[in-house]
């Protein structure tokens, strides 16, 4: 199998890592004890709902992508790590897997459902009570969507305790002979579970705290096995490219939400402007109101001013403005100020920090308080810049690295003055 066709493809989970590089790394890794593929469908980045949409509309194609990746890297076991709220999608995936089992495309035991571990005191939830993510918008949405706490009853894991997973610590011979086995793993129900190593920890039944890297999952992933982790959309594009349906990595699925008339998921060229996305795809701004600020690629990419609505939605161009394309989740605000939105994002991060490392655990919370404080008093000895730098350089994972971007964007684009108490 040849994957030259994937040369241009970059991961769609937010970091934009070259896909073929990962696939080759896993293919070349030690195969003595087997290999694993994880399709990251935790989709926790506020504003992002394309993965759910993909399962709704192209479930089989996504799974085909996973199968082809498995074939390429020689993985015996695969998991779709699914956001626990996606119960409708879970049924679609189960049906698609069953179909492929009947078609002899997957091992017969495929389709089991496991439960990953969450944070104690905050169990994962299976059902979101019919709440549609797209319908929610604006500020409440961030907190509610992010915290996952608002809906459903405490999940009793339906007899699918993570112990069930631990019974299969390594692929057994019969698994290997039976072909690629693809199962569903219900996520731990926290933002950080979308971080690939935290996700792996949660699948191993541990507290979902990101691992130190290196080593990377490509060599030491689930149960220490070489593990390929890709986003749902990445597998989908890969499948389209491998099947020849698509050649170049030139388009993305944009999740558009907030104050627009037709929120939803739209496929559009990378490099399209935000204004085009809003007007040509999402039916324009709600009530034709004036945009106060917008987010280009999910909460972690921070806020941008309306003056930049005409800049190209590509990583290269957005980087010039201090941010990235992220998960290509465009959120439009009309009623809330950039400061209000940024405060909510920072509060969200503070709440979602796994509390493993000091800079993220303390830094996110202190900056959330600082933004929320009307006078923006900074009560600490070290300067704000020192603190932002400590978070950027001293954190363990992307949550801590990128949280300072929220403040930087406010400073850069909204003339937000840094105040000092001392």
């Amino acid at each position: 199998m040849d994957i030259d066709c994937l040369d241009s493809l970059r991961g769609c989970g937010g970091a934009g890592f070259p896909t073929s590089f990962k696939w080759n790394a896993v293919r070349d890794a030690n195969a003595d004890f087997g290999k694993v593929i994880i399709c990251n469908a935790d989709e926790g980045e506020p504003g992002t709902f394309k993965d759910g949409w993909l399962f709704d509309n192209h479930c089989a194609a996504v799974i085909d992508g996973i199968r082809h990746a498995a074939e390429y890297v020689n993985a015996q076991r695969g998991f779709i790590y699914l956001r626990p709220e996606y119960s409708a999608q879970r049924e679609l995936i189960s049906a698609a897997i069953q179909q492929m089992v009947s078609d002899n495309k997957l091992a017969p035991q495929s389709g089991r459902i496991f439960q990953a571990n969450g944070f104690p005191g905050r169990p994962a939830q299976l059902d979101n009570g019919g709440l549609s993510i797209v319908e929610l918008s604006s500020l409440d949405w961030f907190v509610e969507h992010g915290s996952h706490d608002l809906v459903g009853e405490t999940q009793q894991s339906g007899g699918l305790a993570h112990d069930a997973m631990l019974q299969y610590p390594l692929p057994q011979n019969e698994d290997i002979e039976a072909g690629f086995c693809l199962d569903i793993c219900l996520g731990g129900g926290a933002y950080i579970c979308g971080e690939e190593t935290a996700m792996i920890e949660s699948m191993e039944g541990k507290r979902p705290q990101p691992r130190h890297k290196p080593p990377f999952p490509t060599t030491n992933g689930l149960w220490g096995l070489p593990t390929l982790v890709n986003n749902v959309e990445t597998f989908w594009w890969a499948e389209r490219m491998i099947s020849g349906e698509w050649q170049q990595d030139a388009e993305r699925l944009f999740s558009i939400s907030g104050a627009v008339n037709k929120p939803g998921v739209y496929q559009a060229p990378i490099g399209i402007t935000a204004r085009q996305l809003i007007n040509d795809y999402a039916g324009g701004v709600k009530d034709a109101a004036e945009i106060s600020c917008w987010i280009p690629g999910g909460a972690a990419t921070g806020v941008l001013p309306p003056t930049l609505l005409d800049c190209e939605m590509s990583t290269e161009v957005l980087r010039e403005h201090g941010t990235t394309l992220g998960t290509a989740a465009l959120v439009v605000f009309t009623e809330e100020s950039a400061l209000e939105v940024s405060t909510k994002i920072m509060q969200f991060f503070a709440q979602e920090s796994c509390s493993q490392c000091t800079p993220c655990r303390i830094g996110c919370a202190e900056f959330a308080d600082y933004l929320a404080d009307e006078k923006h008093n900074w009560p600490h000895r070290g300067s704000i810049d020192d603190w932002l730098q400590a978070m950027q350089l001293g954190s363990i994972c992307g949550l801590g690295f990128t949280a300072p971007l929220i403040i930087h964007q406010l400073q850069k684009h909204f003339n937000f003055e840094v105040q000092h108490a001392n």
Binding site: P120, A350, Q351, Q356, C357, T358, D386
Partner: protein
């Protein structure tokens, strides 16, 4: 053992494979502050106080969690690095939101003060890795995170063995001995001292430090790297010391009043004289072998040596034994 040579602050150092950058720094006499690190536990890398610059790494790495490899070039100082470390130290002083709430637990040994807790996870990891009890858990997220007995039960209801190892490994005073707090007298100006000695319970011979205030024992602790116990203690060793200052201790010699049949307090001279006279009398009447001596395997070597010498060299009998059966 294969070794790796690396460069730290421009100097070369050879370390064993499997040693961390923290070990390598220690070898060069560079002491880095650590909070979440305990030699007896797997490296955690959470507190970030031991960050160092490593050539080729995108950002500073925690020395404790980074294994050495040949050719590494490491720097432990530098303006930016030092600012980051100083800022993290400042962050560790922040009292998190969860600190306002705490658990109260009916157990009499282990207390928790969340205001001192820096979420280094040492206690949780100790309980998991060393004791393998999993009686403690790290719950919540962000600044709302805290430590509690697993499932929020009392330690008395978890698998906790009340060893207090969590107190031993805690780098702050977040976990503390309730017993110590109870007997420690803040008002007193009695001298505080620490005495290194050996535990008096089982035969492992744990080396302990008895902390005392004047004549009162206020705590027992152990140091990592010392003795056969390497800082570990069990529940008895760490906490069962109330007997030392117990009011029921014998403080005066007693002799039995032959008329009333009661034991009565007396002087040392009288007690010793009665004992000696009767012993000699019995020896004279029934022979040396009519006396028997039972030594205690709780006493010191010197004590029991002296006892058998008394039996053999003064009384003249080999009737000496102890309950030592193992």
């Amino acid at each position: 053992m294969p070794t790796n040579t690396l460069t730290i602050n421009g100097e070369q150092v050879a370390v064993l494979q499997g040693e961390s950058l923290l070990d390598a720094c220690a070898k060069m006499g560079i002491s880095l502050l650590t909070a979440c690190h305990d030699n007896r536990l797997e490296a955690y890398g959470g507190c970030r106080t031991c960050l160092v610059d490593l050539d080729g790494a995108p950002r500073p790495v925690p020395a404790c969690k980074t294994l050495t490899s040949a050719g590494m070039v490491v720097s432990t100082s530098g303006e930016q690095l030092e600012t980051v470390r100083a800022t993290i130290d400042e962050m560790l002083e922040c009292i998190p939101a969860a600190a306002l709430e705490t658990w109260t637990d009916a157990n009499r040994f282990i207390g928790y003060d969340p205001q001192q807790c820096i979420m280094c996870d040492r206690c949780v990891r100790y309980c998991d890795e060393i004791m393998q009890c999993n009686a403690l858990e790290h719950v919540g997220q962000g600044v709302d995170a805290f430590i509690q007995p697993t499932q929020g039960d009392s330690f008395l209801d978890t698998s906790c063995e009340l060893c207090g190892g969590c107190i031993g490994t805690c780098p702050t005073d977040a976990l503390y001995s309730k017993q110590s707090l109870k007997v420690f007298n803040e008002q007193s100006d009695a001298v505080l001292s620490s005495t290194r000695t050996v535990c008096n319970y089982c035969g492992v011979g744990c080396v302990i430090d008895i902390e005392s205030q004047g004549n009162n024992v206020i705590d027992i602790d152990a140091q990592t790297g010392v003795g056969p116990n390497d800082g570990h203690l069990c529940s008895k060793g760490r906490f069962a010391w109330q007997f030392i200052n117990h009011p029921q201790r014998l403080t005066k010699p007693l002799v039995r009043n032959t008329e009333s049949g009661e034991l009565e307090e007396t002087s040392w001279q009288n007690a010793l004289s009665i004992a000696a006279t009767k012993m000699l009398d019995i020896k004279q009447r029934h022979g040396a072998d009519s006396l028997a001596f039972l030594a205690s395997s709780r006493c010191t070597n010197e004590d029991v040596y002296a006892l058998q010498k008394l039996a053999r060299a003064i009384i003249g009998t080999n009737n000496v034994h102890s309950c030592a059966a193992t």
